[in-house]
């Protein structure tokens, strides 16, 4: 068990509330503002995507459960702004910014939006760590999920896939390790794989003998099996 966000396989959720194919992209104006604000604030360069995911995961479990999607984004953003010193608690409490920020020169300008969205932020990085597995190799995931660098830290091995045997499906190259990057400990890039697991390896009562779940997993999450 890591944190409340790690809900894959959980029982207890009811039917999925579907949106129509032609539903608006943003159901409320504030959803659109929340998304745009998060992207623009991210552009200040004070955190990366792993840090911002971890900020949402670290919301108190009660908040994580009760908040709608963009409410989680806003709460995560509030936490990031305070943690990085970009905004003070007093400014949040007064809903008023005190003077121009030292990072104001990093403000995302309207004319740069298209270019910034189009250029993205790739996560592949060179790494000295040799690729240990090839397609069809059998691997076993860590028996206990969890960040090995920081207790309670960010990790991307869901609890439902811990201690499971699967086979390498694809080698994705070498990617930034979120367990490191989310805690400002460096990229820690290492080989990343798509790993396929039989449903029977993951679930007490799998639906179908042929079904599989595939996860993208870093080499340090895996051992030969």
């Amino acid at each position: 068990m890591t944190r409340v966000h790690d809900m894959g396989g959980r029982f207890g959720d009811g039917v999925i509330a579907q949106d129509a194919q032609d539903a608006p992209v943003f159901h409320e104006d504030w959803h659109a503002r929340a998304l745009a604000l998060t992207l623009a604030a991210g552009g200040l360069g004070q955190w990366n995507i792993d840090i911002s995911r971890h900020a949402r995961e670290c919301l108190p479990p009660i908040d994580y459960a009760r908040f709608s999607y963009y409410e989680k984004w806003m709460a995560g953003l509030a936490g990031l702004l305070v943690d990085t010193g970009v905004v003070t608690r007093a400014e949040l409490a007064e809903a008023r910014g005190q003077g121009e920020s030292t990072w104001a020169d990093k403000r995302l300008k309207a004319e740069n939006v298209a270019g910034v969205l189009a250029s993205g932020g790739p996560a592949d990085r060179p790494s000295d760590i040799p690729v240990a597995f090839k397609p069809a190799d059998q691997v076993r995931t860590r028996k206990i999920t969890g960040n090995r660098l920081v207790d309670g830290g960010h990790t991307r091995l869901p609890a439902y896939a811990a201690g499971a045997v699967g086979r390498i499906l694809r080698v994705h190259g070498t990617h930034i390790l979120p367990d490191s990057s989310a805690h400002r400990l460096g990229d820690g890039a290492e080989p990343l794989y798509a790993v396929a697991f039989a449903a029977s390896e993951l679930w007490a009562n799998p639906e179908h003998p042929k079904d599989e779940v595939v996860l993208d997993l870093w080499q340090s999450y895996l051992e030969p099996a």
Partner: protein, 221 residues
């Protein structure tokens, strides 16, 4: 490098370490509880500090409301259906192929295309958050980000598909892709029977957003 993946890796004292808050001392609790007012407060603070240009927010919103959406993915799929060499290249290296079409960008930096067949149905989820191929499909729909889909899609994909009106043949295997890294998956749905004479732009109309997530079929009504 806008996402700052490189620029913020230097550890700073006391930052980046998890510190679990109880319910009332998280910074968000300082903001108004009404979500619309909460967003407004954050936008106001950041604008007053010179950190946000409201016009840039407008531009981001307009981009995802009008320019970047599932139409992009549908064009890729329709061409894969009609152009065997394109299909082969897409399945070989989707990032390269979609980049050439101008569909590279944020949340689509590492693309993989997976093809549905009679034997294998692919379906995409992100159990840990809401990863989704934005440049090809736009902003994910609410259901994709719901707890119910995140919790259930990996464990009981057939029950989930049934809610979406889909019953697969008994001998079709399902492969659910849980997007745990920065790789994004595009499902290439099966081309519906009886569409052999359609043009590429007619085919595009059959390719729904849900079909490219694997929670729908192309031509499904």
């Amino acid at each position: 490098m806008w996402l700052g993946l490189d620029s913020v890796t230097a550890p700073r004292h006391g930052r980046g370490m998890p510190h679990d808050h109880s319910d009332h001392d998280h910074p968000h609790a300082l903001l108004p509880s009404d979500p619309a007012l909460r967003v407004k407060a954050l936008e106001t603070i950041l604008t007053q500090k010179g950190l946000i240009d409201p016009a840039a927010l407008d531009e981001i919103i307009e981009t995802y409301e009008t320019k970047i959406g599932p139409r992009n993915g549908a064009e890729v799929v329709a061409r894969a259906w009609t152009d065997p060499a394109f299909r082969e290249a897409l399945l070989e290296d989707a990032t390269k192929v979609v980049s050439e079409l101008g569909f590279y960008g944020r949340q689509g930096e590492h693309m993989v295309a997976v093809e549905n067949t009679k034997d294998l149905h692919n379906m995409v989820v992100c159990t840990l958050c809401s990863c989704y191929p934005w440049p090809l499909l736009g902003i994910p729909p609410g259901w994709y980000k719901s707890d119910a889909y995140r919790a259930r899609a990996v464990r009981e994909p057939r029950k989930v598909l049934a809610e979406f009106g889909i019953t697969l043949p008994e001998d079709t295997a399902i492969r659910v892709w849980d997007s745990t890294a920065e790789v994004r998956y595009l499902v290439v749905p099966m081309r519906p029977a009886g569409t052999e004479k359609m043009t590429q732009s007619e085919l595009v109309e059959l390719i729904s957003r849900d079909s490219m997530i694997g929670a729908g079929l192309a031509g499904q009504t």
